[in-house]
């Protein structure tokens, strides 16, 4: 049942060294502030799951929080590579990370299986791709009704899911609208859930394409306006594309990244725009 906590308290209680964490949000509503707090609290050995490990996971990886990355598309969208990810994966700086790589359909269905309390989900996918040979947690399964084989993906049940949403009400229910990606499935699949929100409201107003996450599925809510910056929160602020572009230079070498860490995360200023 959701409690309103400070972000620092929420991360401290629900994210532990060695946990499997899923910071979800597909381009929209990426929980950057929560990611920064994880860095600040110097969590280690995380298995970090996310369809698109963009800047937020590049930052966590560069800061040494991650030992394994589970993902389906890794890049700085619209800009280029994730330099901190490459440096960790290919050169072991600051720590060597391993990867488990999927397709969007595959990883999405790993969440679906986790949300469904099933050890696996089935799909048409991966066949013909070399990915099938490289990736653990996939297998084949025979249809019991037809003479066809399908892909099975293992469920993923993170220790904690972290998402950013537009609104919480006073009872600790959460409403999000616009692009929600696989966030709902990540929440259902996870043992604990932290939500950062733009605003706390008395009652929700109807919105197109909204989903509501009931308080019984949430452990902690932290009120963190602009908590998705530099990604965007529909109805609140737009994507700060300059920050995405600027990240390329910041992350390109270890020194400039360490300066960013010191100035923006560990320093007084935090990582606010």
């Amino acid at each position: 049942m959701s409690k309103f906590l400070s972000l620092s308290e929420a991360i401290s209680r629900y994210v532990h060294d060695g946990d499997t964490v899923a910071l979800e949000g597909f381009t929209h509503l990426i929980p950057f502030a929560a990611g920064h707090e994880i860095i600040r609290q110097r969590r280690k050995n995380l298995t970090a799951v996310r369809l698109t490990p963009d800047l937020i996971y590049d930052q966590l990886i560069g800061a040494g929080c991650v030992k394994k990355l589970v993902f389906s598309w890794g890049g700085n969208p619209g800009v280029g590579s994730l330099h901190r990810f490459r440096d960790a994966y290919q050169s072991g700086w600051p720590v060597k990370i391993s990867i488990e790589e999927h397709t969007h359909a595959g990883l999405t269905n790993r969440y679906v299986a986790g949300a469904s309390g099933m050890p696996f989900a089935v799909l048409r996918g991966y066949f013909g791709s070399d990915l099938f040979e490289q990736t653990s947690n996939v297998s084949t399964i025979q249809s019991p009704f037809t003479d066809e084989k399908f892909l099975a993906v293992a469920a993923i049940n993170p220790d904690v899911a972290i998402i950013h949403a537009q609104q919480a009400d006073k009872n600790g229910n959460v409403m999000m609208w616009g692009i929600t990606g696989s966030s709902k499935e990540a929440v259902f699949a996870s043992k604990a859930t932290i939500v950062t929100v733009e605003e706390i409201v008395d009652t929700f107003q109807p919105k197109f394409n909204s989903i509501i996450i009931p308080n019984v599925l949430i452990d902690a809510i932290a009120h963190v306006p602009r908590g998705a910056w530099p990604s965007y929160a529909s109805g609140y602020y737009e994507r700060d594309n300059d920050a995405y572009i600027a990240w390329d230079a910041v992350s390109k070498d270890r020194e400039s990244f360490e300066k960013w860490l010191a100035d923006e995360i560990y320093g007084e200023s935090g990582a606010k725009p």
Binding site: G75, Y89, T103, N109, R124, I179, S182
Partner: protein, 276 residues
């Protein structure tokens, strides 16, 4: 990767002319326009960022106003007025008929074969239209260059009725053997797709800066069927890492029309301005 899921927007403004000849358009513009022309009105189209989005918006503004655009982020029948900066750009959600979760996109829209056309880009392609967006090098575990990975591409390649691949042609990209099959084209020839149970028909066009390739209906090997204006057969062969088949009656791609160039430039300019 879906085309441009990484850095194609940047590439659009940076590209220089392949032929060396002075032409009033650059090769990205030509690729975009050629891709746009392949889109039939009313088609359900799975779109990525960069050239596919530009091509789709151009098509909707001209011959295909009822093109039905889906992005993997969950936006259904969207009608972006500007180029989206990312696959989940707010513009795509704001202009969409509806926005749904990703399980619905992959399991209900893509997997059963509702999508007519899917766009893909690649770092490498082989003669059977198999593509690589995972890594360059000899070893998955120790790659020379690590690429973004599959994203939606593997299942787009499997399930869309048609796939259009957009890729610049060179000996580095058009290779005899790709380092990793991320997304399946025609495997090693006829019957390969059926063997893997893929329900879509595979690559229909490969659109490059040199011209347009189509799979041979029998052998499934890519054949150069059209050259963009100003490009020679020799250039296309020179920029291919295998013994390129050329159609007997090779066509020349129609030159970009004024309205096409105008729209593409308008879209790209707005997008660049947005990122300044």
């Amino acid at each position: 990767m879906t085309v441009g899921s990484n850095s194609d927007i940047a590439a659009v403004s940076a590209v220089s002319d392949v032929s060396g000849e002075k032409k009033p358009w650059n090769s990205n513009e030509m690729m975009t326009i050629a891709a746009s022309r392949t889109l039939k009105d009313g088609a359900i189209c799975f779109v990525g960022i960069g050239i596919p989005s530009t091509a789709a918006i151009l098509a909707k503004s001209s011959h295909a106003p009822n093109l039905f655009l889906i992005y993997e982020s969950g936006t259904v029948n969207t009608d972006p007025k500007r180029l989206p900066l990312s696959i989940g750009d707010g513009e795509l959600a704001n202009e969409a008929l509806s926005v749904v979760g990703m399980p619905e996109i992959f399991n209900y829209w893509l997997q059963p074969g509702h999508i007519d056309v899917g766009f893909l880009g690649a770092a490498q392609i082989d003669r059977f239209g198999n593509i690589n967006t995972t890594f360059i090098g000899n070893s998955y575990d120790d790659p020379k260059v690590r690429l973004p990975g599959a994203g939606g591409a593997t299942e787009i390649a499997g399930a869309c009725k048609e796939v259009i691949i957009i890729i610049k042609q060179s000996k580095r990209t058009f290779v005899e053997k790709i380092d990793f099959i991320t997304s399946f084209g025609f495997g090693d020839g006829p019957g390969s797709r059926e063997k893997h149970g893929l329900i879509g028909n595979g690559p229909k066009y490969v659109i490059t800066d040199q011209g347009i390739l189509e799979p041979d209906p029998v052998t499934k090997e890519l054949v150069l069927v059209s050259l963009h204006p100003g490009v020679s057969v020799e250039s296309a062969i020179e920029n291919t890492g295998w013994d390129l088949k050329v159609a007997e009656n090779i066509l020349t791609t129609d030159e970009p029309k004024d309205f096409e160039l105008k729209k593409v430039r308008e879209l790209v300019a707005t997008s660049s301005k947005k990122s300044e």
